[in-house]
């Protein structure tokens, strides 16, 4: 089978690796900004589909499908983000006579509508948060006519990925927040419909991985805890979830499978729940795609999720059985971002001038970084994922700390130091973090190390002195080259 991977970066590379192992040919699509990217070079064939801006390339449905037809690909894997949750894309793929590696278009449409998904969950017997199944009436000038308990969240009906959410503390700010949320939703998702959801206090985010065959059989691959979030963006995830009773775990798994069955769910999906501090859980949403944090599930189950998806496409049913799925040990993932924690996590750009990657027992690195790569503002700031597996949670934490410590990325600041601080914190080590943890996080030790600054000063002076020229630059853009040449001429 020839498979076009409609994505880029680490996930595209990851999918192509499994394609290779299963003997499938892979086709990469790349933007002009990704000409040198690893995923572009890894695939058997690559098609340039447009300029760097995602809207003109990775999000361009016509070009993606044209690339598949041009190369004779039979199937398309959407990865995560980009077009993976776009029902029009899934439909267009199938209309073109190609296989969409994921759920049916109708399922994607349903899961994309947060209220419809909520309704489906309730009908499948899952607990949902109190509130209306209907979006907030636009014509209702005073939304406070509904009985609302504060604080409350205003969420976009067509939203996702933690975006388009506003927190409202009281009646006074409700109207203004609703208006703001509508504007953001319209801009981000093309739909200004919003709804209200009560805020769950001290919530833990726990999600369950399912795999369905599209004919009513659904496997459960265990849960993940994703409570370490910064502005609703996940930063550290783990499997299994810590401090979860066997009974509650069984209930969450059962609920996810029930929902999957009721939808005759096809391919991979993740059912998200919030757990409150009283041990009650509520369905939040279902994600119809492979997720960023899927490696932690793979590490504890030993199962390649992309392989499971591809086998489903090839054979029409699972090779896997529920009895084969038996998690062992603990896995934790840390997301390495091109963001500067000292500047409020401002996304950064620049060239990777030094790269040393972690390795060793139980360390997995999902990354498309290479020396000399340019990180630009065109795409997400996630540049790599470090995952550690060990026999128990404390060992997994320790191993992840080793992995992050070994990961040297020169040329741009990253959040690695911040991740280390979170892993070191007692609350994280006890497994007691909830989704508000990072809002008020105070590191135990400051990142500032005077001794390191002193050594750098010493070395920098020695460098200047030693050679009377600056250290060899890694050639990147012509601008720097020209600068360096101009400077040497003066000597």
């Amino acid at each position: 089978m020839k498979i076009l991977v409609a994505n880029r970066g680490e996930i595209a590379l990851r999918i192509m690796r499994t394609c290779w192992e299963l003997g499938h040919q892979s086709v990469a699509i790349y933007s002009e900004g990704d000409q040198k990217a690893q995923h572009t070079r890894y695939a058997d064939e690559s098609v340039c589909i447009g300029p760097a801006q995602a809207a003109l390339s990775y999000l361009n449905i016509e070009r993606v499908i044209a690339a598949a037809i041009q190369t004779g690909a039979q199937a398309i894997h959407p990865g995560y983000g980009f077009l993976s949750e776009n029902p029009a894309f899934a439909r267009a793929v199938e209309d073109a006579g190609l296989i969409f590696i994921g759920p049916r278009p109708e399922t994607i449409a349903l899961t994309g509508d947060k209220l419809a998904a909520r309704k489906a969950a309730r009908e499948a017997g899952l607990p949902v948060l109190p509130g209306s199944d209907n979006p907030l009436d636009e014509n209702q000038s005073d939304p406070s006519q509904q009985a609302i308990t504060f604080p409350v969240l205003v969420k976009a009906v067509s939203g996702g990925g933690g975006r388009g959410i506003r927190l409202v503390h009281n009646l006074e700010e409700l109207q203004q927040m609703v208006t703001a949320a509508r504007q953001e939703a319209q801009a981000a998702f093309g739909d200004n419909a919003v709804y209200l959801e009560p805020l769950v206090q001290q919530a833990r985010h726990i999600e369950v991985q399912i795999l369905g065959d599209g004919q009513g059989h659904v496997l459960c691959l265990g849960e993940r805890e994703c409570s370490i979030q910064r502005r609703r963006q996940k930063l550290i995830e783990e499997a299994p979830a810590p401090n979860l009773s066997r009974a509650l775990r069984k209930e969450l798994h059962g609920a996810a499978v029930r929902l999957g069955r009721s939808l005759a769910y096809r391919s991979l999906g993740t059912v998200e729940f919030l757990l409150d501090n009283l041990g009650k859980y509520y369905f939040i949403e279902i994600n119809p795609r492979i997720q960023v944090e899927h490696p932690v599930t793979e590490m504890v189950t030993g199962i390649d999720l992309v392989r499971a998806q591809l086998e489903l496409v090839e054979y029409g049913s699972f090779k896997l059985k529920q009895e084969h799925i038996s998690p062992r040990g603990w896995a934790i993932e840390a997301r390495v971002l091109a963001e500067d924690p000292d500047l409020g996590f401002l996304p950064v750009t620049g060239e990777i001038t030094h790269l040393q990657e972690p390795a060793g027992t139980g360390i997995r690195l999902d990354s498309a970084l290479f020396l000399g790569m340019c990180v630009t503002a065109d795409y997400d700031s996630l540049i790599a994922k470090v995952i550690a597996w060990a026999e128990d949670r404390p060992s997994a934490i320790r191993r992840l700390q080793r992995g992050l410590g070994e990961f040297k990325i020169g040329g741009i600041p990253t959040d690695i130091g911040f991740l280390q601080q979170v892993l070191q914190s007692p609350i994280f080590q006890d497994g007691r973090a909830d989704t508000t943890y990072l809002d008020t996080f105070q590191p135990v030790e400051p990142l500032d190390r005077e001794d390191v600054q002193r050594e750098v000063a010493l070395a920098a002076a020695m460098l200047m002195d030693q050679t009377q020229v600056a250290p060899r630059d890694v050639r990147s853009n012509d601008g720097n080259n020209w600068l360096m040449t101009a400077w040497r001429e003066q000597m």
């Binding site: 040297k408 600054q453 060899r472 601008g479």
Partner: protein
């Protein structure tokens, strides 16, 4: 022996270098620095202590350094000693890009005399236009500015001989 004033992040140090004999803020130190590759990776040895560091050049005397997982910017200026060659590479009044962005244009030419605080470069970053100013009065010796070029943080844009 040469004396350097080095700023690293929010701290400043005075470093005296005479081969392997060094002084940092007056304190005597023995250290040596070896290149591990041709790509900016070095090993600093102080007695039994080893520290791996990576340096990349961001301007004539500005480096970004990666050490112990910390990303730092170091600026080195020679303070004394050997007579400076006529067009010294080390000037105390370089105008550098404060953040990544696009250089719009230079407002001066090579050979111009500028006052301290005079606007010399216009650049745009994060949807704002800003004027970069001369940190000291002097003669503009080199302009490394091409209109509509993207620059990194700390790139030297204009050299001023104070």
């Amino acid at each position: 022996m040469t004396i350097y004033r080095v700023s690293v992040g929010n701290r400043e140090y005075q470093v005296e270098v005479a081969g392997n004999r060094l002084r940092v803020d007056g304190e005597q130190i023995q250290a040596n620095l070896t290149a591990l590759n041709e790509l900016g990776l070095y090993l600093l040895r102080q007695g039994d202590m080893l520290r791996e560091m990576h340096f990349s050049n961001k301007g004539t005397n500005i480096f970004t350094a990666l050490a112990e997982g910390r990303h730092l910017v170091a600026q080195v200026e020679r303070q004394n000693g050997k007579a400076r060659p006529k067009n010294s590479a080390l000037s105390q009044s370089d105008v550098c890009a404060p953040m990544p962005g696009i250089v719009i244009k230079a407002m001066v030419q090579e050979g111009d005399f500028v006052e301290k605080g005079q606007a010399v470069v216009v650049m745009e970053s994060m949807k704002m236009q800003m004027e970069l100013r001369a940190p000291a009065a002097g003669e503009v010796t080199r302009i490394f500015v091409q209109p509509n070029t993207q620059v990194d943080k700390s790139t030297v844009l204009v050299k001023i001989k104070a």
